[in-house]
């Protein structure tokens, strides 16, 4: 079992609110998953090479620009004011 504080810490990292009831469930569930991934510590590795991506093609970092219409972008925004995306106030008066 994870402690309540550990669950709250992980939930904060993930920016997910959890209820008291959920905390109890996560104490068990996250423990099962974390115990599983912890087994990696005991696997002996062959060398220090890492595989970040399966492709070994040389990336062309000159990206083709993608131009999207402002109106289209705004069409999926939950809250907007005119042509702007509305966010909650972050600075106190």
């Amino acid at each position: 079992m994870l402690t309540k504080e550990e669950v709250l810490h992980v939930a904060h990292l993930a920016r997910i609110e959890v209820t008291d009831e959920e905390i109890e469930k996560y104490q068990k569930d996250l423990k099962i998953l974390l115990d599983e991934v912890d087994k990696i510590r005991s696997i002996e590795d062959f060398d220090d090479d890492k595989m970040f991506s399966p492709t070994d093609n040389q990336y062309d970092l000159k990206r083709e620009s993608v131009i999207v219409d402002k109106e289209q972008i705004l069409s999926n925004v939950p809250k907007k004011m005119g042509n702007f995306v509305e966010v909650p106030v972050m600075i106190n008066e």
């Binding site: 992980v10 939930a11 990292l13 993930a14 920016r15 997910i16 609110e17 959890v18 996560y26 569930d29 996250l30 099962i32 998953l33 974390l34 599983e36 991934v37 087994k39 990696i40 510590r41 696997i43 590795d45 062959f46 060398d47 220090d48 090479d49 890492k50 595989m51 970040f52 991506s53 399966p54 492709t55 093609n57 990336y59 062309d60 970092l61 990206r63 083709e64 993608v66 999207v68 219409d69 289209q72 972008i73 069409s75 999926n76 925004v77 939950p78 809250k79 995306v85 966010v87 909650p88 106030v89 972050m90």
Partner: protein
């Protein structure tokens, strides 16, 4: 009722070319199938759009492309302009795509007709499609059984005969495992063969768009159509090879490896026996089949969990309630908006994985877990490469058991990872891998054979698959008439 869609693509093409039928007839039949089906394969369908596209095609001359005018279903995590893209999540219930994915550009260029978006596990996280916000699809072979996942809706749509072709996505088996559970052919291509532009990211270094079909040849045709380098996906590459060129060609000097782990007692006996039957059949046809040991093969689930959950936690950080998707009303402040939006917008499997992923990537943990996983991933990939130095292909079962009852162990956090225990290796190394039906278990549920090839070598996979398809006497089309 007409049954043009149950014909082969070659037969449909002849009818279109000779003007015996029009694309509109195919679309009408497809929607007739959708309306009669109770399998919950689709999340949203677009009849008016499909009919209008079919009308446009009537003004064009039917070319030699067998895909011309063929209806297709698209997994709901692939962007199709002006259609919803929900990822089976409340978070994106109202999200409408404003552009086409790279693979959709190719689908449209081939004049295929998109009829709708298919059901799936939420954000592709799961192995039964039961984590969908819209309820689970049902397996056409048995209504009470799972379809597999995460591309469960696409698998059900093809296997039940609603439509001949569908696109899915495969991060750790999500095309091949549901294909195996529903008795169809599913291919996860080499990482980079198909553009990921417009595929909603789950674990970027593992994700790949895959193709699902009723038979091997049609599978290869569809994959060939969507294979293309895309400047908008820096990991995609140019492919000029004809992946259909070895279909039905003889297997000369052919060598196949079966990893011992793939027929160990983690796999149901009925499935093991079926794979051994295939082995015998191949040997009778002068194919060399050897059992091999592959180091790290039994450790892949651990690597997968670390890499997939880590990358998912980063990719899904974009769902913040501000730019698009669900947004919690009246938050106290910005932090509250993030936390409540994600609490109410995501389902439990997704939240669990994001939480573990965030933990695995935080501070020093990234070194202990993620970096170590990338190291072992490299080692595992080299081990597979060694096998490909001596053998054309690797074969084994796609799944350790056949489709099981809906609502089984829904609460088990490890369930979906264990369901994919035989199919994750191909994602780790970026190898192409196909699942095809090769028989039934005692409950008359399909058994899938997996064929893994070296990178870029889809054509040899299709060569062996087309050979086995001809040898298999079972009929996997019987549920297609049940609509």
């Amino acid at each position: 009722m007409s049954k043009y869609l149950s014909l082969s693509l070659q037969e449909i093409h002849e009818l279109l070319k000779n003007k015996k039928i029009t694309p509109k007839d195919l679309v009408m039949e497809c929607f007739d199938n959708i309306e009669k089906s109770n399998l919950n394969a689709f999340i949203n369908v677009y009849k008016d759009y499909a009919l209008s596209e079919a009308s446009k095609l009537e003004e064009l001359e039917v070319d030699d492309d067998l895909l011309f005018g063929i209806p297709i279903a698209i997994k709901d995590n692939i962007m199709v302009k002006d259609m919803k893209c929900t990822c089976a999540s409340k978070m994106l219930d109202n999200f409408v795509s404003i552009y086409d994915a790279g693979c959709i550009d190719e689908i449209k260029r081939h004049h295929m007709i998109i009829v709708g978006k298919t059901n799936m596990d939420e954000f592709a996280m799961g192995s039964t499609s039961e984590t969908s916000y819209y309820g689970a699809p049902h397996n056409p072979w048995n209504y009470d059984k799972v379809s597999g996942g995460s591309s469960g809706g696409s698998a059900v749509a093809v296997s039940s005969g609603i439509i001949p072709l569908a696109l899915g996505s495969d991060t750790g088996g999500s095309v091949r495992q549901p294909s195996s559970f529903t008795g169809i052919v599913g291919m996860k291509p080499t990482y980079g063969r198909v553009s990921r532009y417009g595929l909603v990211a789950f674990a970027s270094s593992l994700d790949q768009v895959g193709v699902m079909s009723r038979n091997v040849y049609e599978n290869a045709l569809l994959l060939k159509a969507i294979s293309k380098e895309d400047k908008r996906d820096l990991t995609s590459f140019e492919t000029n090879d004809d992946i259909t060129c070895l279909i039905n060609k003889p297997l000369t000097n052919f060598k196949v490896a079966i990893p011992k782990y793939f027929i160990s007692d983690i796999v149901d006996k009925e499935i093991r026996d079926k794979i051994l039957e295939i082995k015998t059949m191949l040997e009778t046809n002068h194919v060399t089949v050897d059992f091999v040991d592959i180091k790290y093969i039994d450790k892949t689930a651990i690597l997968y969990q670390i890499i997939a959950m880590g990358e998912a936690s980063s990719n899904l950080a974009r769902f913040d309630g501000i730019k698009y998707g669900y947004s919690y009303l009246n938050p106290k402040d910005l932090e509250d908006l993030y936390k409540k939006t994600r609490r109410y917008g995501f389902g439990s499997e997704v939240k669990r994985r994001i939480m573990v992923g965030s933990y695995l990537l935080s501070g020093e943990n990234a070194k202990i877990y993620y970096n170590k996983a990338l190291q072992i991933r490299d080692d595992l990939s080299k081990e597979f490469q060694k096998v490909f130095d001596n053998y054309n292909l690797i074969i084994g079962p796609t799944t350790a058991r056949c489709a099981y009852n809906l609502n089984t162990n829904l609460d088990d956090p490890l369930k979906s990872f264990m369901d994919d225990i035989l199919v994750m290796h191909a994602n780790m190394g970026g190898f192409p891998s196909l699942s095809m039906p090769v028989g039934f278990n005692s409950e008359h549920l399909p058994i899938g054979l997996q064929i893994i090839g070296n990178r870029m070598d889809e054509k040899t996979i299709y060569q062996l698959a087309s050979f086995i398809e001809k040898e298999i006497k079972d009929d996997f089309s019987e549920v297609r008439n049940g609509i």
